[in-house]
């Protein structure tokens, strides 16, 4: 190449470097303002049903890309109105593109309940996940946990744990949560039956010990409830409390007088007419 040619090329390279440096500076200074901020740009994000058509078979990849973007977007605390389209992004777009993709259900529900403070929205997303993935126990388990921990809605939580427990291959902890929620929902007899089932099916000492503690305390609760009801019935019939618990059997109000889990008689005070447990509750209830 001639000297003239080299000089000409050098000028072009210099011009290119100068223009590139200017464009970088310009983008840094004005780029963000031009793009807009907040949730407004998401207004035009179409539903997943339309994106599925437009993705031409790359719907799983598009779901990945949108999920990655959503993680970065919802981690940015500078965007004040970022939760405006939260349900649309996860429920109508990402999980519509790939309904078998579990993480958007779990992480989306976590953002909805913990960050956006909208647990009902999180439950709607998890309900969709449960409907689309009936073979995955983790989704009803998460929904049950949300109802238990955030909403304190134990009957609803119990129903979700029951759904999770019905999935084959579910870890034993789900049954334990289910039994505990049944108790918290107020059905101690059903809970006792479930804990007894867990105790019988336990294959390791750890689970067996936990189950035994619950069976122990629930057994005491159920027995005291039965005795209290029988004493009340006795009082209605004879106008006074029985002198001893054995009279409840004599009167035909109980087929057998229950003994506590340690095999001792329950303590009974004829003056107050109240039965009680002579031992200590293991779980401190």
């Amino acid at each position: 190449m001639s000297r003239k040619g080299r000089t000409g090329r050098g000028r072009f390279l210099l011009a290119a470097a100068l223009l590139l440096a200017l464009s970088v500076g310009f983008e840094k200074e004005f780029g963000a303002a031009g793009r807009g901020s907040g949730a407004a740009p998401l207004l035009y994000l179409p539903s997943g049903r339309y994106l599925k058509v437009a993705s031409l078979g790359y719907d799983e990849l598009l779901a990945d890309v949108l999920y990655l973007w959503s993680i970065q977007y919802y981690s940015n605390y500078d965007i004040g109105d970022r939760y405006v389209y939260l349900e649309h992004i996860y429920k109508d777009v990402i999980t519509e593109l790939d309904p078998r993709y579990l993480d958007p259900y779990l992480i989306g529900a976590m953002i909805m309940s913990a960050e956006a403070q909208d647990p009902e929205m999180a439950l709607r997303l998890l309900d969709k996940g449960i409907a689309k993935n009936p073979d995955q126990w983790i989704l009803p388990f998460e929904a049950g946990f949300l109802c238990y921990q955030t909403l304190r809605d134990y009957p609803r939580s119990s129903r979700y744990f029951e759904q999770a427990a019905a999935v084959p291959g579910v870890p034993p902890i789900v049954q334990r949560f289910k039994a505990e929620m049944t108790r918290r929902a107020g059905d101690i007899r059903a809970s006792l039956g479930e804990w007894a089932g867990i105790y019988d099916a336990a294959t390791d000492d750890y689970v067996r010990t936990i189950a035994w503690k619950h069976v122990h305390d629930l057994r005491v609760q159920v027995d005291l409830e039965d005795l209290t009801a029988a004493i009340a019935a006795y009082r209605d019939r004879f106008g006074r409390a029985p002198a001893g618990l054995a009279q409840l059997r004599t009167a035909g109000l109980l087929a057998e007088i229950p003994r506590d889990p340690e095999g001792r008689d329950y303590v009974y005070e004829p003056q107050s007419g109240r039965p009680s447990y002579g031992g200590v509750s293991i779980l401190g209830r």
Binding site: V53, L56, G57, Y58, D59, E60, L61, D64, Y67, L68, I71, Q72, D98, R100, Y101, L102, D103, L106, I107
Partner: protein, 255 residues
């Protein structure tokens, strides 16, 4: 006959591997497959899914691009450069020329796909997330490339490269949207329109049987007969398209 087709195929393969577009696509594909590793750092959970989705989609996309970009000029470029006259002056049937060109590109695609698959599998093995189902998904994608190549060759016999490229890509898009014809048919009132819609659905290439990326990544068992169906469909539909390409080239007037 087989010998002549093989000779043309090997010649086409040699020509293809000298093409810079092939290397450009291959380098991009390998770079993107390796990028999946970086992308997975941005996520919360699901790293395995993202790496597999990204790798399979890259192999799919770049395989199709290779098939289209190289297939569309396969015959028309020979005519344009007038090299076809040298070949056809020899005792070669025109159909042998088309089939030889097709076979050469298939060989190129086989090597191309094998290189992309090797990089992907090595990445999966390094991450400890390899699943043999991935190989099945790649094999079915390769069958899809064969069908796309046949379509590109047909258009290459009928038209110039730009028109061929547009038409092939349009059929590729439609091939992934045939399921939406059911939705369209349900909304059509006129019986003739519904019949036309159903006819088009049957007539257009169906690429869905070759796409099991989602099932493989999610570990969903494939319905029995999926692979056999894809093979038979490719043999029948691809064969029909190649026969049409041969017929079109047979009728083509060389000036």
């Amino acid at each position: 006959m087989t010998g002549r087709i093989l000779a043309i195929a090997l010649n086409t393969f040699r020509e293809a591997i000298r093409n810079r577009i092939l290397y450009l696509l291959l380098v991009f594909a390998v770079a993107l497959i390796l990028c999946a590793q970086t992308l997975s750092l941005l996520t919360v959970g699901s790293e395995e899914k993202i790496i597999k989705d990204f790798g399979l989609a890259t192999i799919d996309l770049f395989g199709v691009l290779t098939a289209v970009l190289m297939g569309i000029g396969l015959v028309s470029r020979e005519i344009e450069r007038r090299t076809v006259y040298v070949l056809l002056a020899k005792p070669i049937h025109r159909a042998e020329f088309v089939l030889g060109k097709y076979a050469g590109l298939v060989l190129t695609l086989l090597v191309n796909t094998a290189i992309m698959a090797l990089c992907f599998v090595l990445l999966l093995l390094a991450k400890g997330i390899f699943d043999p189902g991935i190989l099945l998904a790649i094999a079915l994608l390769f069958l899809q490339f064969l069908l796309i190549t046949a379509i590109a060759v047909l258009f290459s016999c009928l038209s110039n490269p730009i028109v061929s490229c547009i038409l092939t890509l349009a059929l590729y898009a439609v091939g992934h949207l045939l399921w939406s014809f059911d939705l369209l048919r349900a909304r059509l009132a006129a019986p003739w329109a519904r019949a036309l819609c159903a006819g088009l659905q049957r007539l257009l290439p169906d690429l869905a049987p070759f796409d099991v990326k989602g099932q493989v990544v999610h570990g969903i068992p494939l319905p029995p007969g999926t692979v056999a169906y894809a093979f038979v469909y490719l043999a029948l539909y691809g064969g029909a398209v190649l026969a049409l390409a041969c017929a079109a080239f047979q009728r083509k007037e060389m000036q």
